[in-house]
Point group: C2
Chain length 205, copies 2
DNA sequence: GTCTTTGTGATACGAACGTACCACGTTGGT
DNA sequence: ACCAACGTGGTACGTTCGTATCACAAAGAC
Protein backbone atom coordinates (compact mmCIF):
# COMPACT_ATOMS: atom_id res chain seq x y z
CA UNK A 1 0.00 0.00 0.00
CA UNK A 2 2.88 2.41 0.49
CA UNK A 3 2.65 4.66 -2.51
CA UNK A 4 5.06 7.52 -2.65
CA UNK A 5 3.71 10.21 -0.37
CA UNK A 6 4.01 13.96 -0.10
CA UNK A 7 5.91 14.51 3.10
CA UNK A 8 5.02 18.16 3.49
CA UNK A 9 1.33 17.44 3.14
CA UNK A 10 1.50 14.56 5.57
CA UNK A 11 3.30 16.68 8.13
CA UNK A 12 0.66 19.35 7.75
CA UNK A 13 -2.14 16.84 8.32
CA UNK A 14 -0.49 15.50 11.43
CA UNK A 15 0.19 18.97 12.77
CA UNK A 16 -3.47 19.82 12.27
CA UNK A 17 -4.31 16.75 14.29
CA UNK A 18 -1.98 18.03 16.99
CA UNK A 19 -3.81 21.34 17.01
CA UNK A 20 -7.21 19.69 17.27
CA UNK A 21 -6.11 17.30 20.00
CA UNK A 22 -4.43 20.11 21.92
CA UNK A 23 -7.58 22.17 21.72
CA UNK A 24 -9.49 19.32 23.30
CA UNK A 25 -7.00 18.15 25.93
CA UNK A 26 -4.79 21.16 26.44
CA UNK A 27 -1.36 21.47 24.91
CA UNK A 28 0.30 20.25 28.07
CA UNK A 29 -1.65 17.03 28.07
CA UNK A 30 -1.45 16.01 24.43
CA UNK A 31 0.79 13.05 23.67
CA UNK A 32 2.10 11.40 20.57
CA UNK A 33 -0.57 8.75 20.82
CA UNK A 34 -3.32 11.34 20.99
CA UNK A 35 -2.02 13.01 17.88
CA UNK A 36 -1.80 9.70 16.07
CA UNK A 37 -5.35 8.76 17.01
CA UNK A 38 -6.67 12.20 16.03
CA UNK A 39 -4.93 11.98 12.66
CA UNK A 40 -6.10 8.41 12.17
CA UNK A 41 -2.60 7.05 11.74
CA UNK A 42 -0.36 4.83 13.80
CA UNK A 43 1.96 6.09 16.49
CA UNK A 44 4.87 4.97 14.37
CA UNK A 45 3.90 7.32 11.56
CA UNK A 46 3.90 10.37 13.79
CA UNK A 47 7.39 9.37 14.83
CA UNK A 48 8.34 8.84 11.23
CA UNK A 49 7.33 12.25 9.97
CA UNK A 50 8.52 14.07 13.08
CA UNK A 51 11.50 12.46 14.72
CA UNK A 52 10.62 13.74 18.16
CA UNK A 53 7.80 15.35 20.05
CA UNK A 54 9.71 18.58 20.30
CA UNK A 55 9.99 18.80 16.51
CA UNK A 56 6.28 18.17 16.22
CA UNK A 57 5.46 20.91 18.69
CA UNK A 58 7.72 23.36 16.94
CA UNK A 59 6.18 22.61 13.59
CA UNK A 60 2.72 22.95 15.08
CA UNK A 61 3.56 26.38 16.42
CA UNK A 62 4.87 27.60 13.11
CA UNK A 63 1.83 26.30 11.31
CA UNK A 64 -0.43 27.97 13.85
CA UNK A 65 1.30 31.29 13.31
CA UNK A 66 1.04 30.94 9.55
CA UNK A 67 -2.66 30.10 9.78
CA UNK A 68 -3.25 33.11 11.92
CA UNK A 69 -1.46 35.38 9.48
CA UNK A 70 -3.68 34.04 6.73
CA UNK A 71 -6.74 34.65 8.88
CA UNK A 72 -5.83 38.26 9.47
CA UNK A 73 -5.21 38.78 5.78
CA UNK A 74 -8.58 37.24 4.97
CA UNK A 75 -10.28 39.50 7.48
CA UNK A 76 -8.70 42.55 5.94
CA UNK A 77 -9.73 41.41 2.49
CA UNK A 78 -13.26 40.82 3.76
CA UNK A 79 -13.40 44.46 4.85
CA UNK A 80 -14.14 45.29 1.24
CA UNK A 81 -11.99 46.74 -1.47
CA UNK A 82 -10.27 49.97 -0.61
CA UNK A 83 -11.69 50.11 2.91
CA UNK A 84 -10.96 53.03 5.17
CA UNK A 85 -7.97 52.86 7.52
CA UNK A 86 -10.24 52.40 10.45
CA UNK A 87 -11.92 49.37 8.92
CA UNK A 88 -8.55 47.76 8.25
CA UNK A 89 -7.31 48.47 11.76
CA UNK A 90 -10.49 47.15 13.29
CA UNK A 91 -10.19 44.00 11.20
CA UNK A 92 -6.62 43.43 12.36
CA UNK A 93 -7.41 43.98 16.01
CA UNK A 94 -10.55 41.87 16.13
CA UNK A 95 -8.94 38.99 14.26
CA UNK A 96 -7.25 37.90 17.47
CA UNK A 97 -10.42 37.90 19.54
CA UNK A 98 -11.92 34.49 20.25
CA UNK A 99 -15.24 35.05 18.55
CA UNK A 100 -15.63 31.63 16.94
CA UNK A 101 -14.19 28.15 17.38
CA UNK A 102 -11.29 28.75 15.06
CA UNK A 103 -10.10 31.95 16.68
CA UNK A 104 -10.78 30.56 20.11
CA UNK A 105 -8.64 27.55 19.36
CA UNK A 106 -5.92 29.78 17.99
CA UNK A 107 -5.87 32.06 20.99
CA UNK A 108 -5.87 29.13 23.38
CA UNK A 109 -2.97 27.35 21.75
CA UNK A 110 -0.93 30.42 20.99
CA UNK A 111 -1.11 31.41 24.64
CA UNK A 112 -0.22 27.86 25.64
CA UNK A 113 2.85 28.00 23.45
CA UNK A 114 3.77 31.41 24.84
CA UNK A 115 3.69 30.04 28.37
CA UNK A 116 5.74 27.05 27.30
CA UNK A 117 8.33 29.29 25.71
CA UNK A 118 9.06 30.90 29.06
CA UNK A 119 10.67 27.74 30.37
CA UNK A 120 11.41 25.86 27.16
CA UNK A 121 13.80 27.93 25.15
CA UNK A 122 13.49 25.72 22.08
CA UNK A 123 10.05 27.22 21.47
CA UNK A 124 11.03 30.77 22.22
CA UNK A 125 12.81 32.27 19.28
CA UNK A 126 10.76 33.22 16.28
CA UNK A 127 7.03 33.54 16.63
CA UNK A 128 6.81 35.41 19.89
CA UNK A 129 9.11 38.24 18.99
CA UNK A 130 9.29 38.55 15.25
CA UNK A 131 5.59 38.17 14.53
CA UNK A 132 4.34 40.64 17.14
CA UNK A 133 7.03 43.09 16.08
CA UNK A 134 5.76 42.82 12.52
CA UNK A 135 2.16 43.29 13.63
CA UNK A 136 3.22 46.33 15.61
CA UNK A 137 5.02 47.84 12.65
CA UNK A 138 2.06 47.20 10.37
CA UNK A 139 -0.48 48.71 12.70
CA UNK A 140 1.80 51.60 13.47
CA UNK A 141 2.14 52.28 9.75
CA UNK A 142 -1.61 52.18 9.26
CA UNK A 143 -2.12 54.67 12.06
CA UNK A 144 0.51 57.00 10.66
CA UNK A 145 -1.23 56.86 7.31
CA UNK A 146 -4.50 57.73 8.94
CA UNK A 147 -2.83 60.58 10.80
CA UNK A 148 -1.38 61.96 7.57
CA UNK A 149 -4.85 61.81 6.06
CA UNK A 150 -6.10 63.91 8.95
CA UNK A 151 -8.36 61.18 10.28
CA UNK A 152 -6.97 61.07 13.81
CA UNK A 153 -7.50 63.31 16.77
CA UNK A 154 -4.59 65.56 17.62
CA UNK A 155 -1.79 64.34 19.87
CA UNK A 156 -2.06 60.67 18.91
CA UNK A 157 1.25 58.78 18.94
CA UNK A 158 0.98 56.08 16.29
CA UNK A 159 3.59 53.76 17.78
CA UNK A 160 2.30 53.94 21.35
CA UNK A 161 -1.27 53.45 20.14
CA UNK A 162 -0.28 50.46 18.02
CA UNK A 163 1.51 48.78 20.90
CA UNK A 164 -1.27 49.55 23.33
CA UNK A 165 -4.06 48.41 21.05
CA UNK A 166 -2.38 45.13 20.23
CA UNK A 167 -1.75 44.43 23.89
CA UNK A 168 -5.34 45.34 24.65
CA UNK A 169 -6.61 43.04 21.94
CA UNK A 170 -4.50 40.18 23.31
CA UNK A 171 -5.60 40.87 26.86
CA UNK A 172 -9.25 41.07 25.91
CA UNK A 173 -8.85 37.83 24.01
CA UNK A 174 -7.58 36.08 27.09
CA UNK A 175 -10.41 37.39 29.23
CA UNK A 176 -12.88 36.08 26.66
CA UNK A 177 -11.05 32.76 26.58
CA UNK A 178 -11.33 32.19 30.31
CA UNK A 179 -14.97 33.17 30.28
CA UNK A 180 -14.75 36.44 32.15
CA UNK A 181 -16.11 38.46 29.26
CA UNK A 182 -18.09 37.70 26.13
CA UNK A 183 -16.83 38.40 22.67
CA UNK A 184 -19.31 41.18 21.92
CA UNK A 185 -18.26 43.14 24.96
CA UNK A 186 -14.60 42.81 24.01
CA UNK A 187 -15.36 44.02 20.52
CA UNK A 188 -17.28 46.97 21.92
CA UNK A 189 -14.36 47.97 24.15
CA UNK A 190 -12.00 47.89 21.19
CA UNK A 191 -14.44 49.98 19.20
CA UNK A 192 -14.67 52.54 21.97
CA UNK A 193 -10.91 52.92 22.07
CA UNK A 194 -10.73 53.36 18.32
CA UNK A 195 -13.36 56.07 18.64
CA UNK A 196 -11.06 57.84 21.06
CA UNK A 197 -8.31 57.83 18.45
CA UNK A 198 -10.21 58.58 15.27
CA UNK A 199 -12.04 61.80 14.68
CA UNK A 200 -15.81 61.58 14.70
CA UNK A 201 -16.96 60.04 11.51
CA UNK A 202 -18.75 62.56 9.27
CA UNK A 203 -22.48 62.16 9.79
CA UNK A 204 -24.58 61.62 6.68
CA UNK A 205 -25.70 64.63 4.57
CA UNK B 1 10.10 13.99 66.17
CA UNK B 2 6.47 14.47 65.21
CA UNK B 3 5.45 17.46 67.28
CA UNK B 4 2.02 18.86 66.68
CA UNK B 5 2.23 20.95 63.57
CA UNK B 6 0.28 23.89 62.14
CA UNK B 7 -1.39 22.47 59.07
CA UNK B 8 -2.23 25.79 57.49
CA UNK B 9 1.33 27.00 57.76
CA UNK B 10 2.69 23.75 56.39
CA UNK B 11 0.35 23.88 53.43
CA UNK B 12 1.44 27.42 52.73
CA UNK B 13 5.11 26.45 52.76
CA UNK B 14 4.51 23.57 50.39
CA UNK B 15 2.43 25.72 48.09
CA UNK B 16 5.24 28.26 47.99
CA UNK B 17 7.56 25.45 47.00
CA UNK B 18 5.13 24.58 44.23
CA UNK B 19 5.23 28.15 43.00
CA UNK B 20 9.03 28.26 43.01
CA UNK B 21 9.36 24.90 41.29
CA UNK B 22 6.75 25.84 38.71
CA UNK B 23 8.59 29.05 37.98
CA UNK B 24 11.70 27.06 37.25
CA UNK B 25 10.24 24.11 35.35
CA UNK B 26 6.95 25.44 34.08
CA UNK B 27 3.64 24.63 35.69
CA UNK B 28 2.96 21.85 33.21
CA UNK B 29 6.17 20.05 34.11
CA UNK B 30 6.16 20.28 37.88
CA UNK B 31 5.45 17.06 39.72
CA UNK B 32 4.79 16.07 43.28
CA UNK B 33 8.41 14.99 43.69
CA UNK B 34 9.68 18.35 42.48
CA UNK B 35 7.52 20.14 45.00
CA UNK B 36 8.70 17.85 47.77
CA UNK B 37 12.35 18.41 46.92
CA UNK B 38 11.87 22.17 46.64
CA UNK B 39 10.16 22.28 50.02
CA UNK B 40 12.78 20.00 51.56
CA UNK B 41 10.26 17.40 52.65
CA UNK B 42 9.44 13.88 51.59
CA UNK B 43 7.00 13.02 48.84
CA UNK B 44 4.76 11.47 51.42
CA UNK B 45 4.33 14.77 53.23
CA UNK B 46 3.15 16.56 50.15
CA UNK B 47 0.59 13.82 49.77
CA UNK B 48 -0.28 14.09 53.40
CA UNK B 49 -1.06 17.80 53.42
CA UNK B 50 -2.69 17.78 50.00
CA UNK B 51 -4.46 14.56 49.21
CA UNK B 52 -4.01 14.90 45.48
CA UNK B 53 -2.10 16.93 42.96
CA UNK B 54 -5.25 18.66 41.85
CA UNK B 55 -5.88 19.94 45.38
CA UNK B 56 -2.32 21.19 45.57
CA UNK B 57 -2.65 23.04 42.28
CA UNK B 58 -5.91 24.61 43.34
CA UNK B 59 -4.47 25.77 46.62
CA UNK B 60 -1.44 27.14 44.83
CA UNK B 61 -3.63 29.16 42.52
CA UNK B 62 -5.64 30.66 45.35
CA UNK B 63 -2.47 31.54 47.24
CA UNK B 64 -1.03 33.13 44.13
CA UNK B 65 -4.11 35.27 43.68
CA UNK B 66 -4.01 36.32 47.33
CA UNK B 67 -0.34 37.23 47.10
CA UNK B 68 -1.02 39.31 44.06
CA UNK B 69 -3.81 41.15 45.78
CA UNK B 70 -1.46 41.95 48.63
CA UNK B 71 1.15 43.14 46.18
CA UNK B 72 -1.26 45.54 44.53
CA UNK B 73 -2.33 46.88 47.90
CA UNK B 74 1.30 47.40 48.90
CA UNK B 75 1.98 49.22 45.66
CA UNK B 76 -0.92 51.55 46.25
CA UNK B 77 0.24 52.19 49.81
CA UNK B 78 3.73 52.89 48.52
CA UNK B 79 2.31 55.61 46.29
CA UNK B 80 2.29 57.83 49.38
CA UNK B 81 -0.51 58.89 51.66
CA UNK B 82 -3.44 60.49 49.94
CA UNK B 83 -1.97 60.15 46.46
CA UNK B 84 -3.77 61.52 43.45
CA UNK B 85 -6.14 59.25 41.53
CA UNK B 86 -3.68 58.98 38.70
CA UNK B 87 -0.92 57.69 41.00
CA UNK B 88 -3.25 55.04 42.39
CA UNK B 89 -4.39 53.96 38.96
CA UNK B 90 -0.84 53.80 37.69
CA UNK B 91 0.17 51.71 40.70
CA UNK B 92 -2.67 49.26 40.06
CA UNK B 93 -1.93 48.91 36.37
CA UNK B 94 1.82 48.53 36.70
CA UNK B 95 1.56 46.02 39.52
CA UNK B 96 0.82 43.32 36.97
CA UNK B 97 3.80 44.10 34.75
CA UNK B 98 6.73 41.70 35.08
CA UNK B 99 9.29 44.24 36.23
CA UNK B 100 11.05 42.09 38.82
CA UNK B 101 11.40 38.42 39.64
CA UNK B 102 8.37 38.34 41.85
CA UNK B 103 5.99 39.94 39.39
CA UNK B 104 7.50 37.99 36.55
CA UNK B 105 6.89 34.76 38.39
CA UNK B 106 3.38 35.81 39.18
CA UNK B 107 2.52 36.73 35.62
CA UNK B 108 4.04 33.52 34.32
CA UNK B 109 2.14 31.25 36.65
CA UNK B 110 -1.12 33.11 36.54
CA UNK B 111 -1.11 32.84 32.76
CA UNK B 112 -0.21 29.16 33.04
CA UNK B 113 -3.17 28.59 35.28
CA UNK B 114 -5.41 30.56 32.95
CA UNK B 115 -4.44 28.32 30.08
CA UNK B 116 -4.98 25.24 32.19
CA UNK B 117 -8.42 26.44 33.19
CA UNK B 118 -9.55 26.36 29.57
CA UNK B 119 -9.44 22.57 29.48
CA UNK B 120 -9.51 21.70 33.17
CA UNK B 121 -12.73 22.98 34.60
CA UNK B 122 -11.70 22.29 38.19
CA UNK B 123 -9.39 25.30 38.01
CA UNK B 124 -11.80 27.54 36.19
CA UNK B 125 -14.28 28.94 38.62
CA UNK B 126 -13.14 31.60 41.01
CA UNK B 127 -9.94 33.47 40.28
CA UNK B 128 -10.35 34.08 36.58
CA UNK B 129 -13.75 35.67 36.71
CA UNK B 130 -14.35 37.05 40.17
CA UNK B 131 -10.95 38.64 40.67
CA UNK B 132 -10.75 40.42 37.31
CA UNK B 133 -14.33 41.59 37.74
CA UNK B 134 -13.37 43.09 41.08
CA UNK B 135 -10.30 44.77 39.60
CA UNK B 136 -12.46 46.15 36.84
CA UNK B 137 -14.97 47.55 39.29
CA UNK B 138 -12.24 49.10 41.42
CA UNK B 139 -10.48 50.75 38.53
CA UNK B 140 -13.77 51.87 37.07
CA UNK B 141 -14.65 53.49 40.38
CA UNK B 142 -11.32 55.27 40.58
CA UNK B 143 -11.78 56.65 37.11
CA UNK B 144 -15.27 57.83 37.89
CA UNK B 145 -13.95 59.61 40.97
CA UNK B 146 -11.30 61.28 38.87
CA UNK B 147 -13.92 62.31 36.36
CA UNK B 148 -16.09 63.83 39.08
CA UNK B 149 -13.05 65.77 40.28
CA UNK B 150 -12.67 67.15 36.77
CA UNK B 151 -9.32 65.49 36.21
CA UNK B 152 -10.23 63.63 33.02
CA UNK B 153 -10.53 64.78 29.47
CA UNK B 154 -14.09 65.07 28.17
CA UNK B 155 -15.83 62.05 26.67
CA UNK B 156 -14.02 59.43 28.72
CA UNK B 157 -16.09 56.34 29.56
CA UNK B 158 -14.84 55.08 32.89
CA UNK B 159 -15.98 51.49 32.42
CA UNK B 160 -14.63 51.08 28.91
CA UNK B 161 -11.34 52.66 29.92
CA UNK B 162 -11.02 50.42 32.95
CA UNK B 163 -11.63 47.29 30.93
CA UNK B 164 -9.32 48.41 28.17
CA UNK B 165 -6.50 49.45 30.47
CA UNK B 166 -6.58 46.23 32.43
CA UNK B 167 -6.53 44.20 29.25
CA UNK B 168 -3.69 46.34 27.95
CA UNK B 169 -1.73 45.85 31.13
CA UNK B 170 -2.20 42.10 30.93
CA UNK B 171 -1.24 42.02 27.27
CA UNK B 172 1.82 44.16 27.82
CA UNK B 173 2.80 41.90 30.68
CA UNK B 174 2.70 38.88 28.44
CA UNK B 175 4.79 40.56 25.78
CA UNK B 176 7.38 41.41 28.42
CA UNK B 177 7.25 37.87 29.71
CA UNK B 178 8.04 36.31 26.36
CA UNK B 179 10.84 38.77 25.76
CA UNK B 180 9.30 40.81 22.98
CA UNK B 181 9.39 44.03 24.96
CA UNK B 182 11.24 45.28 27.99
CA UNK B 183 9.50 46.41 31.15
CA UNK B 184 10.38 50.08 30.75
CA UNK B 185 8.81 50.26 27.34
CA UNK B 186 5.65 48.63 28.63
CA UNK B 187 5.48 51.10 31.49
CA UNK B 188 5.94 53.97 29.06
CA UNK B 189 3.10 52.76 26.87
CA UNK B 190 0.79 52.58 29.88
CA UNK B 191 1.88 56.06 30.89
CA UNK B 192 1.12 57.40 27.44
CA UNK B 193 -2.38 55.98 27.52
CA UNK B 194 -3.04 57.46 30.94
CA UNK B 195 -1.92 60.81 29.55
CA UNK B 196 -4.56 60.45 26.90
CA UNK B 197 -7.20 60.04 29.57
CA UNK B 198 -6.11 62.55 32.19
CA UNK B 199 -6.00 66.26 31.59
CA UNK B 200 -2.52 67.76 31.33
CA UNK B 201 -1.08 68.01 34.77
CA UNK B 202 -0.76 71.64 35.91
CA UNK B 203 2.81 72.74 35.24
CA UNK B 204 4.66 74.26 38.18
CA UNK B 205 4.32 78.01 38.98
C1' DG C 1 0.40 3.69 81.94
C1' DT C 2 -1.88 2.26 78.26
C1' DC C 3 -4.06 3.68 73.75
C1' DT C 4 -5.54 6.20 70.05
C1' DT C 5 -4.48 9.77 67.07
C1' DT C 6 -1.08 12.34 64.36
C1' DG C 7 3.00 13.01 61.62
C1' DT C 8 6.59 10.93 58.91
C1' DG C 9 9.49 7.70 56.15
C1' DA C 10 10.30 4.21 52.68
C1' DT C 11 8.72 1.80 49.09
C1' DA C 12 5.67 -0.48 45.82
C1' DC C 13 2.25 -0.32 41.95
C1' DG C 14 -0.06 0.36 37.69
C1' DA C 15 -0.49 3.45 34.04
C1' DA C 16 1.20 6.46 30.55
C1' DC C 17 4.80 8.63 28.30
C1' DG C 18 8.53 9.29 24.53
C1' DT C 19 11.46 6.60 22.04
C1' DA C 20 13.80 2.57 19.89
C1' DC C 21 13.76 -1.64 17.53
C1' DC C 22 12.38 -5.17 14.28
C1' DA C 23 9.89 -6.93 10.44
C1' DC C 24 7.66 -6.56 6.02
C1' DG C 25 5.41 -5.08 1.82
C1' DT C 26 5.79 -1.80 -1.87
C1' DT C 27 8.00 1.12 -5.10
C1' DG C 28 11.30 3.12 -8.30
C1' DG C 29 15.98 2.81 -10.29
C1' DT C 30 18.92 0.30 -13.40
C1' DA D 1 14.64 -8.89 -12.66
C1' DC D 2 16.87 -7.52 -8.81
C1' DC D 3 17.98 -4.35 -5.15
C1' DA D 4 18.06 -0.41 -2.29
C1' DA D 5 15.22 2.91 -0.38
C1' DC D 6 10.68 4.21 1.38
C1' DG D 7 6.51 3.79 4.14
C1' DT D 8 4.18 1.36 7.64
C1' DG D 9 2.79 -1.68 11.53
C1' DG D 10 3.55 -3.79 15.87
C1' DT D 11 5.64 -3.91 20.00
C1' DA D 12 9.00 -3.62 23.62
C1' DC D 13 11.93 -0.71 26.82
C1' DG D 14 13.16 2.37 30.33
C1' DT D 15 11.44 6.27 32.85
C1' DT D 16 8.48 9.03 35.31
C1' DC D 17 4.16 10.08 37.11
C1' DG D 18 0.36 10.17 40.78
C1' DT D 19 -1.20 7.39 44.19
C1' DA D 20 -1.53 3.60 47.62
C1' DT D 21 0.42 0.68 51.24
C1' DC D 22 3.02 -0.65 55.19
C1' DA D 23 5.53 0.50 59.19
C1' DC D 24 6.58 3.17 63.16
C1' DA D 25 7.77 7.02 66.43
C1' DA D 26 6.04 10.75 69.15
C1' DA D 27 2.31 13.17 71.60
C1' DG D 28 -1.97 13.93 73.78
C1' DA D 29 -6.32 11.51 76.09
C1' DC D 30 -8.13 9.14 79.90
Amino acid sequence: MPKRVDHAERRTEIAQALVRAAGRLGLHAVGMRDVAAEAGVSLRLVQYYFESKEKLLLFGLRQLAAQFGARVAARVRAAGEDPGPRAVIEAVLTAALPVDDESRLFHHLYTSYAVLSVTDEALAAQPFIKDPDAAEATLSGLLRQAADAGLLRPGVDARAEAVGLLAMSAGLGTSVLVGQRDADSATAVLGYHLDRIFRDRPTGP
